[in-house]
């Protein structure tokens, strides 16, 4: 038994992989070993997986409806056996709302990442590869967005577009792509004059093909690390917008908006506002731990400190 495990390990760690697949699996294995050596990073991964699990199976896991509460009998109840985390001012079960709220949080995080990361990747790689005035113009635009305070810019955008979770996502995405562009450009500059790019150029590949097929894949890993580290910030910004009444609108169980509605009862029924804030803290912490772990595993250069 141990012998097969050993050979599998040797197969993965071999210096002379026989196929591309073997090489890739080997590298993934090394990264995974480095990642799991970091306990906190594994905790972060478990938190995120737990949240994804809650979001997927919310209807099965939530004990009550997140939208309909018993106004007559169960307003602002203390946590107890019937409602583990108590109820809010409309008699809704807070635990159920938190579970459904994980769907909104996940939606915000994923959509912002899906919108902002490709924009940053494209802007950065094109600027880095093209150089000259294209680079100058694109990077000036990037710097302009970087010069803005993120939350305030997102606020101004939501003010213009109107409140709502969709507009909040757009506003956050608009304010979060510039760092990705910077990273992608820096990565592009390091590989731009390397031999393999020259080889592809000699074979007559078009600039677009080079950028898309040969440069972008190299930027992905550092971008993933940065996006994961940013996710906590994205969650906090979305919650802040929700708290100010500019993000998800009632009766959606968005965590920031739940804190805002629990704010009125903070002195007597403190758990109404405390529970969603704690959920935000745990999930943000999860993303930060995961991001730190990924950075150390995928990018050994940055882990020196």
């Amino acid at each position: 038994m141990s012998e097969t495990a050993m050979t599998r390990r040797e197969w993965l760690l071999t210096d002379r992989p026989q196929s591309r697949l073997q090489a890739r699996l080997g590298r993934a294995y090394v990264a995974w070993r480095r990642f799991t050596a970091n306990r906190l990073a594994v905790v972060g991964l478990l938190i995120i997986l737990g949240m994804v699990f809650l979001a997927i199976f919310a209807p099965l896991l939530a004990p009550h409806s997140p939208y309909v509460g018993d106004l007559a009998k169960s307003r602002l109840m203390t946590p107890g056996p019937a409602h583990w985390l108590g109820t809010d001012d409309q008699g809704r079960d807070i635990l159920s709302r938190l579970i459904y709220g994980s769907r909104l949080t996940l939606q915000v995080v994923l959509l912002v990442a899906v919108i902002a990361a490709p924009i940053g990747l494209l802007v950065g790689t094109v600027a880095g590869y093209a150089g000259g005035w294209v680079d100058a113009v694109l990077m000036r635009i990037t710097d302009i967005f970087l010069a803005f305070p993120k939350l305030v810019l997102a606020l101004a955008f939501v003010a213009a577009l109107g409140p709502g979770i969709g507009n909040a996502i757009i506003a956050i995405a608009i304010t979060s792509w510039p760092p990705y562009a910077r990273i992608a450009r820096a990565e592009t500059l390091t590989v731009r004059n390397s031999d393999y790019i020259l080889a592809v150029q000699l074979m007559g590949a078009s600039p677009w093909r080079i950028v898309l097929r040969h440069i972008m894949p190299l930027c992905i890993s550092s971008l993933i690390v940065r996006v994961t580290l940013d996710m906590a910030g994205i969650i906090l910004t979305a919650a802040g917008l929700g708290f100010l009444g500019l993000g998800a609108q009632p009766p959606l169980p968005e965590w920031g908006a739940m804190i805002a509605s629990g704010r009125r009862f903070i002195l007597d029924q403190w758990w109404v506002a405390a529970a969603p804030g704690f959920a935000i803290l745990v999930v943000s912490l999860g993303f930060n731990l995961l991001g730190d772990g990924l950075r150390d595993a995928l990018d050994p250069r940055g882990s020196g400190q």
């Binding site: 967005f145 810019l153 213009a160 906590a232 100010l244 804030g277 943000s284």
Partner: protein, 350 residues
């Protein structure tokens, strides 16, 4: 003889060039800031004309006001008017308060600056020693504490922590005062001079008011200070680790200097140069963090002004506030860059 003169000349012209490049960068960034706020102001679904005359005004009145506001002009002319207005400090009139936005901002801005300044002072006061200790005793308990404090600082929603702080320290324990800058009692007797209430109370010698102001500012400022501390201690730790690995530290040890002197006198002194930049940036970050903090603590500063205006669709006020915060951001970035060049002799020769 000719050669050094030529080199000096070349160096002077290189410096002139770098200053010019610097100015161009600042100018285009500012232009971009204005372009973005202008764009936001135009895509807003609320018609600014209707906001003034109301939706029951007759068509010819609407048309006249539209012309008076210059909204019938082509966009580039509108942008020109907007830009020249902003550069003269004219952000238009607030629909909510009916004052010029600039006057409103001038009134509320000192409150935000006072909060951010006290917050940064608290953050630096605790953050730098913590970061130094964490670097010196790497892997020890204090290093872990700094790491955890930092992680939580990056993960906690500031407005939630503010609510809990109010609940515990104001409502339950009664150690501090509640929301606002000072009690109503003092509002009639207290005379603001500079707008920074802490300074004002000291200038006028109003000690009762000073106590009240301190007990109001301590909670929101500590909250902002915590976030600033999380950032400053993390950066201090990494700068210090960098310095402690250098050869001059080995040389100092070989000379027999005391460890205290090496750490605080030699290493920290060199780490202080990049730290100035970090503190400046954290100050800028606190100006932003104050938007949510001020809402929780009913602190009458720029953040509360912006969020109040947002809720009332007062776009002039929102954009005015955005431009002011954006300008301060640019200015602080610039300042920290200049400070860095002044403090670090290695960057001067280039």
């Amino acid at each position: 003889m000719r050669k050094p003169a030529g080199r000096a000349k070349r160096r002077a012209s290189a410096r002139l060039k770098s200053v010019a490049g610097f100015l161009v960068v600042v100018a285009t960034t500012y232009l971009g800031l204005l372009a973005v706020t202008f764009f936001i102001g135009r895509v807003v679904p609320i018609d600014p004309v209707l906001a003034i005359v109301g939706d029951r005004a007759p068509a010819h009145v609407i048309e006249r006001v539209r012309q008076e506001m210059g909204l019938d002009l082509p966009y580039y002319q509108q942008f020109w008017l907007y830009m020249t207005g902003v550069l003269r400090g004219d952000f238009g009139t607030s629909v909510l308060t009916t004052n010029p936005v600039m006057a409103d901002i001038r009134r509320v801005f000192p409150a935000t600056m006072e909060l951010a300044t006290v917050g940064t002072l608290i953050g630096a006061f605790f953050g730098i020693p913590l970061g130094v200790l964490a670097a010196v005793k790497r892997g020890s308990l204090i290093d872990q504490v700094v790491r955890i404090v930092g992680l939580i600082g990056y993960s906690v929603p500031i407005f939630w922590l503010g609510l809990l702080a109010l609940l515990v320290f104001y409502a339950r324990l009664g150690w501090t005062s509640g929301p606002g800058r000072m009690d109503v009692v003092f509002e009639y007797t207290f005379t603001p001079v500079t707008g920074f209430f802490l300074l004002d109370a000291i200038i006028t010698g109003d000690w009762a008011a000073l106590r009240d102001i301190v007990s109001h500012i301590i909670l929101p400022a500590s909250l902002l200070g915590y976030f600033s501390m999380a950032y400053i201690s993390r950066m201090t730790r990494s700068f210090m680790l960098n310095e402690l690995g250098q050869e001059y530290i080995v040389a100092a040890r070989a000379k027999g200097l005391s460890e205290t002197r090496i750490i605080w006198g030699h290493a920290l002194r060199n780490a202080a140069v990049p730290l100035v930049t970090v503190i400046a940036l954290s100050y800028a970050g606190l100006l932003e963090g104050s938007v949510l903090t001020e809402t929780v603590f009913a602190w009458p500063g720029l953040g509360l002004y912006i969020t109040n205006s947002l809720q009332n669709a007062d776009m002039n006020a929102v954009l005015g506030g955005t431009i002011v915060i954006g300008s301060v951001f640019i200015a602080i970035n610039l300042l920290s860059d200049v400070l860095y060049r002044m403090l670090d002799p290695r960057t001067r020769t280039r």
